[in-house]
């Protein structure tokens, strides 16, 4: 029996290590999805909605079919399971996104007909020859307008709010937020808005789907989520997963923008229908107009604050603009709800986080999505509070920083908290003079105070004792409901 060779001791931490793909990158030998070509490869281009919201009365392909090089067109009738939801894989319902539009388009750029042709130029020309008869509908682009009773309804089930276990928003309730406001010395309220952000990867989203001799399909793709894409493709095409072989590799920039499943199913379907390799790679304008973005957010925050800077109540009402379909946004809202109180120990918290459908381009994952905009809003709000109370921005954060063992509003104990230590290190780096008290603070669990009050230390006083437990254990307030944990 051959002797097993023991692995060499690890020696990488703390050293610079050359990347294994470095030489290929600098010599142009790295193969990206769009670099694969195959004999007889066809090119797929998409007919897209020129408007934000419309009924489709008719689609006339007759002129497109006469373009030299045209091979075939695919419509929703060709798609075995045309209505899906990416997060269906983790139980999110309902199925709601159309692979190819049926009777209605809900955003500008929504795919309607896929054209497959011998060359890309022929495909582009055939796309230009497709005649759409559309009846334009009123469109909605603002999250709060979309929730008004008279708003145009975007979804096929009659509500512009995604339903979280029967509620139109993801909710967190902790302590008694109204009682907190009642005892507060100051009320600080503000609204924070952000625009959609496009990932703009240098390599556009795309794939090449190749029929193999054994009846399988190999798909060379630049997805960031290989098996997610494979599983959704299998569902949409109603084929066994084992018939699909997805080959990932180096992604030419993703940033979250390549986790949606928007090219592989239709390219694979085209390869099935034609028996030939099919290339479907977004143009730059498709990448900018159609690939998902970071959601636009509106976040309303109302805080009750004591004279010494302690926040005793925080009410957050957030709206994420999901665009026309949900993609990964419901997941973002759950993450958001869990983080929207910030890294602060606040005894009374109420969070309503809405995932709202509008006629904008669907939004989805992007670096920290759900939390990034919460952090932006919360930290600007902290500065606003500091200004109102008349303390510096460092102090307001030291006063409110959570500690290990504090219960967070969504009923997770704070563990491995390092906010205080991070601020201390940051202060040293930028030469900011902290107070002796701030220098002495740690994230260690608060010691139980007198009379069993949970806060201990400076936080032992009224508000925290009146609110939720800060040290451990079950929620104290019977009215609390725990939601918001995925």
């Amino acid at each position: 029996m051959p002797e097993l060779k023991m692995p060499e001791p690890l020696h990488v931490v703390g050293r610079s290590v050359q990347r294994s793909d470095a030489a290929a990158h600098v010599t142009g030998r790295t193969r990206y999805a769009g670099d694969y070509t195959f004999p007889g490869m066809l090119h797929l281009r998409m007919v897209r909605s020129p408007v934000h919201h419309a009924m489709i009365r008719a689609v006339d392909l007759s002129r497109a079919e006469r373009v030299p090089g045209f091979v075939r067109a695919l419509t929703w009738r060709d798609v075995p399971h045309n209505v899906y939801t990416i997060l269906g894989l983790i139980g999110v319902e309902p199925e709601e996104e159309f692979v190819l539009a049926q009777d209605r388009v809900r955003y500008k750029g929504e795919p309607i007909v896929a054209i497959v042709a011998e060359t890309e130029a022929a495909a582009l020309e055939a796309v230009a020859q497709v005649r759409l008869d559309l009846e334009e509908l009123p469109a909605v682009f603002d999250v709060e307008e979309a929730l008004q009773p008279d708003a145009p309804i975007v979804t096929h089930w009659g509500s512009n709010a995604f339903m979280f276990e029967g509620h139109p928003c993801r909710r967190v309730r902790f302590g008694d937020v109204e009682a907190g406001f009642a005892q507060a010395d100051h009320i600080v309220e503000a609204v924070y808005n952000s625009s959609p952000i496009e990932h703009a990867p240098t390599e556009t989203t795309g794939c090449v789907a190749v029929p193999e001799a054994d009846g399988r399909f190999t798909v060379y793709t630049n997805t960031q989520a290989l098996y997610f894409s494979l599983d959704n493709t299998a569902i949409i095409l109603q084929v066994a997963g084992k018939r699909l072989h997805f080959v990932g590799g180096t992604v030419g920039g993703g940033f979250g923008g390549k986790v949606d499943v928007i090219v592989e199913p239709i390219a694979t379907l085209a390869a099935m229908k034609t028996g030939r390799p099919v290339r479907y790679v977004f143009s730059r304008s498709e990448e900018m107009q159609v690939s998902s973005t970071r959601s636009a957010w509106r976040i309303r925050i109302r805080d009750g604050v004591m004279r010494d800077g302690r926040i005793v109540a925080r009410k957050v009402t957030s709206y994420a603009d999901s665009g026309a379909y949900s993609r990964q946004t419901p997941y973002a809202l759950t993450k958001h709800a869990a983080n929207a109180a910030g890294p602060y120990a606040i005894p009374n918290v109420s969070i309503d986080a809405y995932c709202v459908f509008t006629n904008r381009t669907p939004s989805s994952a992007m670096r920290g999505f759900g939390v990034t905009m919460a952090s932006y809003a919360i930290e600007v709000q902290m500065d606003r509070i500091a200004e109102r109370v008349g303390v510096d921005p460092w102090t307001i954060r030291f006063v409110n920083a959570y500690r290990n063992g504090d219960m967070k509003p969504h009923r997770k104990l704070a563990e491995d908290a390092t906010l205080i230590e991070t601020m201390q290190a940051a202060a040293a780096l930028v030469g900011h003079e902290l107070t002796d008290e701030q220098r002495a603070m740690t994230s260690a669990p608060r010691s139980p105070g007198p009379e069993g009050s949970p806060g201990g230390e400076a936080a032992a006083a009224g508000s925290r004792a009146a609110g939720a437990p800060a040290s451990a254990g079950a929620p104290a307030a019977p009215a609390s409901t725990a939601e918001g944990v995925l």
Binding site: P68, L124, S283
Partner: protein, 283 residues
């Protein structure tokens, strides 16, 4: 296929001949930096295209104290010439190295805003364009040549063959303001030229880019400056006039409101820079 014939004439005579034989459906390109993106995306689907890269119109030569610029002179060549510094600066601030190696001075006059900044400098220099076709040759002031958004006074059978920059008096300043430092579309571009007799302005040009359907002269601002001594009040008044008479638009780069505000700011800055520059030179 979209393009069925691509012609690459080797002389102006060949190009004119091809144009008269194929008529207005023949798309004419030079550097390709404006047309090719549209063709690549299927937005433009021409059948027949003529490329001017090899017609031999790519020379820059001094002429009567001014400059004669062939229409297919690259922006790189314009950047390298030393005769008219403002044109070198306009070229330097246009696009990027690779694009300047391809894009041409003539093509820049057909480039829609917020591109086409070389035209702004040329406008401030009273440039003329030469148009040639089967019926002969004519010249036209640049200010008469650009007529609207992507429209010109070019007749269907004509080609733009050259740009003439006359010997003009005065000091010049060129300011381009974009969202980033390099390779950027304009929020606004300002080119000014001021001729003076002693302290008194005798002639002025204020040309604006990216705040109208094409490069524009701010004639009311020019009128304010003539007769003034470029004193702060006159500069403010000229900037205000330019902001009023420009025709800004909204796009992905800036709103019309912002562009107008930036016209006010950058016309003032361009004139102040010119005053400072003259003062330094006079020392």
């Amino acid at each position: 296929m979209t393009v069925v014939e691509y012609f690459l004439p080797r002389s102006l005579a060949q190009a004119v001949d091809l144009l008269s034989r194929h008529g207005p459906d023949l798309l004419v390109i030079a550097g390709g930096t404006v047309a090719m993106p549209l063709i690549n995306d299927g937005i433009s689907l021409p059948r027949q295209v003529m490329g001017l890269r090899f017609v031999g119109l790519d020379e820059i030569e001094p002429s009567d104290g001014g400059l004669r610029i062939g229409a297919t002179t690259t922006l790189t060549s314009l950047l390298r010439q030393r005769h008219v510094p403002m044109l070198a600066e306009a070229a330097r601030r246009t696009a990027s190295w690779s694009i300047r190696n391809m894009g041409t001075v003539g093509g820049n006059l057909f480039t829609p805003p917020p591109g086409g900044d070389v035209a702004v400098a040329l406008l401030a220099l009273d440039a003329e364009v030469t148009l040639e076709g089967s019926r002969g040759r004519r010249t036209l002031a640049l200010s008469e040549f650009q007529t609207g958004f992507m429209t010109t006074a070019l007749e269907p059978q004509e080609l733009l063959t050259g740009i003439g920059v006359p010997a003009v008096a005065g000091e010049t300043t060129y300011v381009k303001f974009g969202r980033k430092e390099a390779n950027t579309p304009s929020v606004v571009t300002v080119a000014v030229r001021v001729a003076r007799d002693g302290e008194v302005v005798t002639d002025a040009r204020v040309a604006l880019g990216a705040v109208g359907p094409h490069a524009l002269r701010a004639r009311k601002a020019e009128a304010v400056l003539v007769g003034s001594s470029l004193e702060p009040g006159a500069i403010d008044e000229a900037a205000e006039a330019a902001a009023e008479e420009c025709e800004p638009f909204d796009d992905g780069i800036a709103s019309a409101w912002y562009r107008r505000a930036m016209v006010r700011l950058f016309v003032r800055r361009a004139l102040e820079e010119l005053v400072q520059h003259v003062a330094l030179e006079g020392r």
